[in-house]
Symmetry: C2
Subunit: 452 residues, 2 copies
């Protein structure tokens, strides 16, 4: 029974909602997976979404709400009072999801909601988690976990687990702690299950355990889980006491978001947007880089203006302005993308800056000479003007080499000063290379026509 | 004991390897995590890597080899005979990793290696898995899993699991099948552990189970696991019989690779490369798009050539060529990026093409008018030439709107014809918009100066 959202389903549902009759399609909604229900809600209008949300069972609605897109969730939560949010939505949630949801509320409602949570331990867990930045290990972790003490027997373990496991849907690992709550190892369910009845935890547990501190960066956490193929990672405080655990599904979201963000930056989009965001939001995300491009274009005009006399005498120089600008931009984007991606994946290795630039120089020289030879042949054949042909091809090699070195250097420098190197991709590097490329082109043209 | 690879460690290790003395740093290598050892090998020269690989314990070396970058793995496997690969490396591997490794060998060595595998079941599993395309569910799955029959008792379950679980490091879920091997549900280890001794599988298992068919696409599998927050996903054949399972760590790799590939395409890089790949490979990955840019530049020159007379009379039109070209390119990349990302994340929703283009038109109009107003003010103030100012600002709005619509349409069309829409990003869309932008600019200039 695997659901797939179709256009037909959506229009049937919309019709059922508009007639307000209690039709089969609406009453069946509670049989779908929460992630499917969330997908449906994301594709409805605000009114339809609120209406449908009212038909959901309590336990399901809390699972649905954490899967929603943030803007849809905001709309739905607005319609609920603080008491309803605390008692109907949050009560069934894991601490990490609950804290994420509470963090999205405005300050006043936040306090109200927390004060309405009945389970004191859950409330305290949430308040605890709210202290960590969203993108830190603490912000990603949940408090729910199973821990046993090193000197317990297996039957005692199982008894304790029965108590602890009640609220926990998936148990991946059992953590082993000492009497001071310090994390000292793990015990797999498999070993526990296959153990002789008289065994002790200390006979079965695995001493080696990888953990992160609560203040470590989310991207770092993602890198560790990816590198070591971990499904769950324990989080400890400064004294190495176990305080939570991060599961891979939350980290997959971090990985996706990082990749999406870098992609959007490289494409000249400055805020995270989806195609179904509002026109205002999309415009706001796109305008800044267009203004950078505009400014670049004005600088370009100034550069050309410098050489206006030259252009009046040799107007054919204008023909290759777009080519020079485009090639500088393209090469710069290529070079910076390799560096930005290497930094993001932590795969740049230990080459020195000198080695890296040297390699980039060689690649650029090869590509530059190939392109330059082609354009030389073209310009000689079709323009019958060797001065112009020489100017374009010499300028092209220099522009390509410059753009490659510049595209390599800028993200490395930004990274060194803890600025997101993705800023150096896309429109920024293209614009810079446009301007410098024009300087190089007209400078060489000047030498060619006037000096030689 | 969390290892971090540093420059110092690497140079100490390189020195130890060059002196060939059995130093502490080399003998300690077996205490590191296989993923760390792989990272070290990736950063050594081929000779150093081969040398160090020889110091690894057998069980560790097989775990290390699957974590290596492909080019390093290739070098190391070349030095090993088919018998060594079969007996030392593959014997300790899970079926999915073993099949991936065998798939990388050339055909002759592939057969030799398979013939040397002692465990007949493992050999048959590998041969089986080799039939599936690398990026399908079958290509991602492993054969190792725990399955129990619906009518078994719990003690029988545990006895059977003891046998089956021997080779399986992490057990996430126990699959429940009927007498014909058809997948009918799952049983969590937690429930099994907490169950009363006399329970039967049929009392405890969960009937609902999400599965994929072996021929489903890897990206689709990734989407399902991401959407439903799954750690492991069973794979069935056409008759719904359980044939394998896919774990999230392999899917994380698929997600990363997809994102990296789209990013590189958008940056004008046509093959997957790392910054430490060879100069030849990097050049080959970058040259194709540069040639597209070059061709675009030549077309641009042809367009301008059409208007050479006009340019001779109004040379100041040349000033804004880079601006028009750059803005068209930037807007086109923004628009196409939103569509490509929406397609990749399956988040485009159900808006009609008409709605989508209408929205894009509005966003482009706003951005276009803002940019155009700014450039109008600038051109009037500094160039004191209202004809030029009007030409540039009118052309700019039209170019921005055209580029936005074009950037939206092209990836949607490519996707419709099952061509990777990421092709439409980066240099391709930039180049196209450069050329069309020049047409629009000079066309409007022609009307302005000659007709009005």
């Amino acid at each position: 029974m695997q659901f797939e959202l179709t256009k037909e389903y959506l229009s049937d549902l919309k019709e059922a909602l508009s007639t307000q009759l209690d039709s089969a399609i609406i009453s069946d909604i509670n049989n779908l997976h929460p992630a499917d229900i969330a997908e449906i809600l994301d594709n409805l209008s605000n009114e339809e979404a609120s209406l449908l949300f009212g038909f959901l069972d309590k336990e399901i609605s809390s699972e649905v709400i954490i899967e929603l897109e943030e803007d849809v969730r905001e709309i739905l939560l607005e319609k609920l009072g603080a008491k309803e949010i605390a008692e109907d939505v949050i009560e069934n949630m894991d601490s990490d999801d609950a804290a994420d949801l509470v963090a999205e509320l405005d300050d006043e409602k936040k306090e109200d909601v927390i004060s309405f949570i009945k389970d004191a331990e859950q409330a305290s867990d949430i308040v605890d988690l709210l202290n960590y930045p969203e993108d830190s290990a603490g912000g990603l972790m949940a408090k729910e976990l199973i821990k046993v003490q090193i000197d317990w027997t297996i039957p005692k373990c199982i008894r304790e687990m029965r108590k602890q496991a009640e609220d926990i849907e998936n148990v991946y690992t059992i953590y082993v702690v000492d009497e001071r709550e310090k994390l000292i190892g793990t015990l797999s369910l498999k070993r526990l299950l296959l153990a002789p009845a008289k065994a002790l935890v200390k006979d079965l547990y695995k001493e080696e355990v990888r953990s992160v501190k609560a203040n470590q960066d989310g991207e770092e956490v993602a890198g560790i889980m990816e590198k070591y193929d971990l499904v769950v990672l324990p989080v400890v405080d400064e004294l190495n006491r176990l305080i939570g655990r991060i599961t891979i599904d939350d980290v997959v979201d971090v990985i996706k978001e990082e990749a999406d963000k870098d992609y959007q930056m490289a494409s000249g989009i400055s805020e995270k947007i989806d195609s179904d965001d509002s026109i205002g939001l999309i415009t706001r995300a796109r305008l800044p880089w267009l203004l950078v491009g505009l400014l670049g274009g004005i600088f370009g005009a100034l550069v050309i203006n410098q050489y206006e006399d030259q252009l009046q005498i040799y107007p054919e120089m204008a023909l290759f302005i777009p080519l020079i600008a485009a090639m500088g931009g393209n090469v710069g984007v290529q070079s910076s993308a390799i560096i930005v991606q290497g930094l993001a994946n932590n795969s740049l290795g230990f080459d020195s800056l000198f080695t890296r630039l040297g390699k980039e120089f060689l690649v650029a020289m090869i590509n530059g000479l190939v392109c330059s030879a082609l354009i030389l042949v073209y310009a000689i054949l079709y323009k019958d003007n060797t001065d112009l042909a020489a100017t374009v091809s010499i300028a092209l090699v220099i522009v390509i080499v410059f753009a490659a070195l510049f595209g390599t250097l800028v993200p490395l420098i930004l990274d060194k000063y803890k600025i997101d190197p993705a800023l150096a991709t896309g429109p920024f590097i293209t614009t810079m290379n446009d301007i410098v490329g024009l300087f190089i082109y007209f400078g060489i043209g000047h030498v060619m026509y006037n000096v030689l």
